[in-house]
Amino acid sequence: MNQTQNKTMNQSQKLMVFVLTMSLYGLATLFTELIPKFQVGIVEFSVEYFLFIPLVLAMLFDPLSAALGAATGELVFSEIMLGQFGGLGEAEKFITVTLGVYLAGRLVRDPRNTRMVGIAAILGTGAQLLMGTIVDICKVQFAVEDFEAVAGLPESVFATEGFAFLNDLLFSGILFCLLPTLYLVPKLYGKIEPLLGMSPRTPETAAPALSAKTLAGCAVAFVCAVAAELLATSGLELIDWEASWAESGTAVAVGMIAAAVLALAVLMVMKKKAEAK
């Protein structure tokens, strides 16, 4: 008998999980993009969170593929398809979603253990939200000079951001992440794996427990996310654009116009020539 079990297999399984998560989470985010959010007082209600989809799949299958699939799905379906691409700022969301889902998926060693699933779901969601909150606080800190010096500012920023975090975690987190995950994981366990030609996850086949190295990797990724976000949104003060223009602006602008006109003329002539051939 020839037992075939090789690397190709794992690669293609990962691709399946990636494709599955991408399609489903992408579809879900496409809807959330279209459903309006609304605020009652300070509490924001939004059906923003379909994060349970990648969470469930990350707990049942390869966590990294599910995490990357989810982030890609969101990027492709809701940002690119609807033309709502926000530039570099999207990197933050991409990385935090990936990390949150990945961590939750790695935490669950046995999907039949409901308590573990619950803890992982809320931790994954919490991690994603917390990272978002930290990014937000950094943004303000970065944008406002002498953040510490303004009386009451740090406190109020921490208070509002902290409240938003708790609200999201308790409202979206529990309603839209924890409960659906707890509902779906036991129902899907043992049913969805054979459809993809895999065997269900057990403590023996699960990836080894989270190591310090993995966590350090996550931290590095998170720092990248913060950097990207800051670069994207708070770069306003980096260059004092106006000041430099005040003096020699006219001359430079005239120079640029001349160059553009020249380029345009040359291109037109070249095009005519090319067409004449």
Binding site: L24, M81, G83, G87, L236, W245, V252, A260
Partner: protein
């Protein structure tokens, strides 16, 4: 608001409409001036108009950029839904502040910074709408690949458009099952409406259970077919990448497009220094 929302999610919200808008947006406008541009040029163009406005405070320059991206958006013949989303997006970010300030008689000093901020947001959004909606997804994917984006992202983009109509139809049918067989709470009173909304949200969640299983079946065939059709072979092969990108060709028109944009920016700069 609550009422509107509760009625919107399942009843008035037509999946067919959404599907046709997304597809229209992707493929319905591939004969426009924008769609004919080389994706690399457009992406570079986007890099400028998607970033630079953030760093500039000059009103004339911003206005100039805004007008330019508005023209390109019109040229790209973007679908209505996307424009609507753009409008809602800008409004919810800064637009409503601007409106409120203006209505309550805020003076120029209060309005000006808000106006600038709104212009920035609008310009950047429209630039992205032009590029990401105006361009055929496959050309966009190729353009991104040329700039070194992972192969998997460009595959995802094309595949997303392929799978979306099928997924939506399936989702629609599953929701229809719930709609025909379920028994939603009456929604005449306010409390009933809240319950109805909660019910609908719950149904959407539940709907993902069958959807996950059905999609899993599909994914398996798809990935097996991808395997046969050499997807993984191509992903690691430099030569294939080269062949794929050979389809990208700069034309004189691309140069003219870039030069015209440059001319426009330079002109607004000049105007800004003169005012």
């Amino acid at each position: 608001m609550m009422q509107k929302l509760s009625e919107n999610i399942l009843d008035k919200f037509s999946m067919d409409f959404l599907r046709s808008q997304v597809l229209k947006n992707a493929y319905g406008n591939n004969d426009t001036v924008i769609a004919a541009r080389d994706p690399r040029v457009l992406l570079a163009w986007y890099l400028f108009f998607g970033l630079v406005p953030w760093f500039v405070q000059d009103m004339t320059f911003l206005l100039g950029c805004f007008v330019l991206v508005m023209i390109t958006t019109l040229l790209a013949r973007v679908a209505g839904l996307v424009l609507l989303l753009f409008g809602v997006g800008v409004f919810s970010q800064t637009g409503y502040l601007l409106l409120v300030t203006w209505l309550f008689g805020g003076d120029a000093s209060a309005i000006m910074p808000l106006l600038i901020l709104t212009l920035k947001v609008a310009t950047i959004s429209l630039a992205s709408v032009t590029v990401f909606s105006g361009l055929d997804p496959d050309r966009l994917a190729n353009g991104l690949m040329w700039y070194g984006c992972p192969e998997r992202l460009s595959f995802s983009i094309s595949y997303a458009y392929r799978i979306l109509p099928m997924l939506m139809e399936e989702f629609q049918n599953v929701l229809l099952s719930y709609r025909l067989r379920g028994n939603p709470p009456a929604h005449d009173t306010f409390a009933g409406k809240v319950r109805y909304l909660a019910y609908q949200v719950k149904i959407i969640m539940y709907a993902f259970y069958p959807l996950m299983l059905n999609t899993a079946k599909r994914s398996r065939t798809t990935v097996e077919a991808l395997e046969i059709r050499g997807y993984r072979y191509a992903a690691t092969n430099k030569e294939v990448r080269r062949i794929k990108l050979a389809g990208l060709r700069l034309t004189w028109d691309d140069g003219i497009f870039a030069a015209l944009s440059l001319l426009w920016v330079a002109a607004t700069l000049l105007l800004g220094t003169l005012v």
